[in-house]
């Protein structure tokens, strides 16, 4: 660990964002979900991965927002995009057409086979809590070459089986991506290959596709992760220690968030009249 990183404090949320950002290789074409994924993807673009191509479902392609969008269709995304296409074109040509390397998603719940639930808690016809629904996620998760998921780690979010599979990871039995029709297989991605939380990284077991912890963030204990996970979570034999954020990463992230706050506070100054 270098001197530059030791000197700085950071929050678990910052740790999560920086780690999520690092997962994006420079040059990746990334279909970005709003919120945490958007924050991480833009941090990647502003640090180690300047040529990362960001696509938002609002139709904005290769966009380079100076501030984080509050919604998936902020004017900033269009103003800084290479081009903006219609939403049908976005989902048909760009996502289903196979041009997305990484689909970067948030979620309300995730289960041990990386299935995502953003629909509801409880029964569909008698929901305890009604959540927003699928949005772009169901097809982002199947049409992207691979999927990253970022979510705060807790027993409420990491459940053994989600109440509702809005968006498939590997299905109820971990086998949803096996034995597909050959034409489907040609277009279907690998699914969630990485889950980034504020405690650790998880990846699917190559055989069973059950999510297992592969890297633990600095200062986090195994017990904390077990405690925050709704199933008997397993740890990889080769368990990594997630590197801390660098001072540069923290600076860029904090400046991005400060810039964003200033921008969204001054609503009416945000766009040319």
């Amino acid at each position: 660990m270098s001197e530059a990183t030791i000197a700085r404090d950071y929050t678990p949320a910052e740790m999560m964002t920086v780690t999520a950002a690092r997962a994006l290789v420079n040059g990746t074409t990334c279909f970005v979900g709003i919120g945490l994924p958007s924050e991480a993807a833009n941090l990647a673009r502003l640090t180690h991965a300047p040529d990362t191509v960001l696509i938002y479902e609002s139709g904005t392609i290769q966009t380079k927002p100076d501030v984080l969008p509050l919604s998936i269709g902020d004017g900033e995304l269009c103003d800084t995009a290479l081009t903006t296409v219609s939403v049908p074109e976005m989902f048909r040509y760009w996502l289903q057409g196979g041009h997305v390397d990484v689909g970067f998603l948030g979620t309300a719940q995730i289960d041990r086979y990386a299935n995502l639930n953003t629909t509801l808690i409880g029964d569909y016809r008698e929901p305890k809590v009604r959540l927003p629904g699928g949005g772009g996620a169901p097809e982002i998760a199947t049409n992207s070459r691979e999927v990253f998921v970022t979510i705060k780690h807790s027993k409420r979010t990491f459940v053994k089986d989600v109440d509702f599979i809005t968006t498939v990871g590997f299905g109820r039995d971990g086998k949803a991506r096996d034995n597909l029709n050959p034409e489907t297989a040609k277009h279907m991605g690998k699914g969630p290959t990485l889950v980034i939380t504020d405690l650790c990284l998880l990846r699917p077991d190559p055989d069973t596709h059950e999510l297992i912890v592969t890297s633990i963030h600095p200062g986090v204990t195994r017990e904390q992760i077990v405690e925050a996970t709704g199933w008997e979570v397993r740890f990889a034999d080769q368990l990594d220690a997630t590197p801390e954020p660098t001072a540069h990463e923290l600076d860029v992230l904090r400046e991005l968030k400060a810039r964003t706050d200033r921008h969204h506070a001054g609503d009416t100054a945000g766009e040319r009249a």
Partner: protein
């Protein structure tokens, strides 16, 4: 052929009780002014179609205009829940709301297919999702060439599409710029369409491949400056992000909501029954 009229008259003529209505605009160009006029005219039993219900449908639902919602993401973007939508779904207040739930990809394809005059949209969608278990409109076809099983859903063909756009020329041709969403598809798929615009100009000055709706695809055009606020109009005014945040507290409580709507929509109507 597009007829210029007041917003009041346009809604009165084209939005009937029981109609299937699509108000589109993907974060950008959401037709709030038109939605408010629908509320003021107390339209009932509407089937509302929209990818992202947003505040506009939270308001319509909370005011009892809707009996059914076809949608794909029902949140307050960047903020949280749509409380009026949730109250209708969870508690049946003010009236029960039937929901037909899709993914964005499917909804976008359903508009595309509607514009293309087809009865169904075909997509590689819903694989492994539970949505087909709860939405009987999600079915499948088999590709006669590859044997691949693909999702099929009915196309969206609303009775009336309502959108907001930057401007119309005097002949009634309309230009939409920036994040164009599914507005063109919604208008072309619909039997009738109402377009509100920021202004009317002599010449659209449009790029050869711009998103332009010819006058003969539109039923009515109403001038409604600021008609997308608190959403935004690219080139005119920004999104009122702060209002989207404030809405959470307003909509959370039934009475606060009712009071806010009374004050800001019911009593603030531009045309309250008057003809322009």
């Amino acid at each position: 052929m597009a007829e210029f009229m007041s917003l009041h008259d346009a809604i009165a003529r084209y939005v009937n009780d029981g109609a299937t209505v699509a108000m589109e605009g993907f974060t950008h160009l959401i037709p709030f002014a038109a939605g408010h006029e629908v509320i003021r005219q107390k339209k009932r039993d509407l089937t509302l179609i929209r990818m992202t219900p947003d505040l506009i449908y939270d308001q319509l639902i909370g005011m009892g205009c809707a009996k059914k919602l076809i949608f794909s993401w029902g949140g307050n973007p960047g903020v949280g829940s749509l409380h009026r939508l949730r109250d209708a779904v969870e508690k049946g207040y003010p009236t029960p709301l039937e929901i037909h739930e899709h993914s964005h990809a499917a909804m976008a394809c359903a508009y595309e297919a509607g514009a293309a005059g087809l009865p169904l949209a075909v997509l590689r969608g819903y694989i492994g999702s539970d949505l087909p278990k709860v939405n009987p409109d999600i079915r499948h076809i088999d590709c006669p060439f590859t044997g691949e099983r693909l999702a099929a859903i009915p196309s969206n063909r609303p009775d009336v599409a309502i959108i907001h756009a930057q401007r119309a020329d005097k002949q009634g041709n309309v230009l939409i710029e920036g994040i164009i969403g599914v507005q063109k598809e919604a208008v072309l798929a619909a039997k009738h369409s109402v377009v509100t615009v920021e202004e009317i100009v002599d010449d659209l000055n449009a790029h050869p491949n711009a998103c332009v709706l010819p006058a003969w695809t539109i039923s009515a055009i109403a001038v409604a400056p600021g008609g997308a606020a608190p959403s935004y109009t690219h080139g005119y005014y920004p999104r009122q992000n702060s209002f989207y945040k404030e809405w959470d507290a307003i909509a959370r409580d039934r009475d606060t909501f009712a009071q806010w709507m009374e004050e800001h929509v019911i009593n603030a109507g531009e045309s309250k029954g008057a003809s322009a």
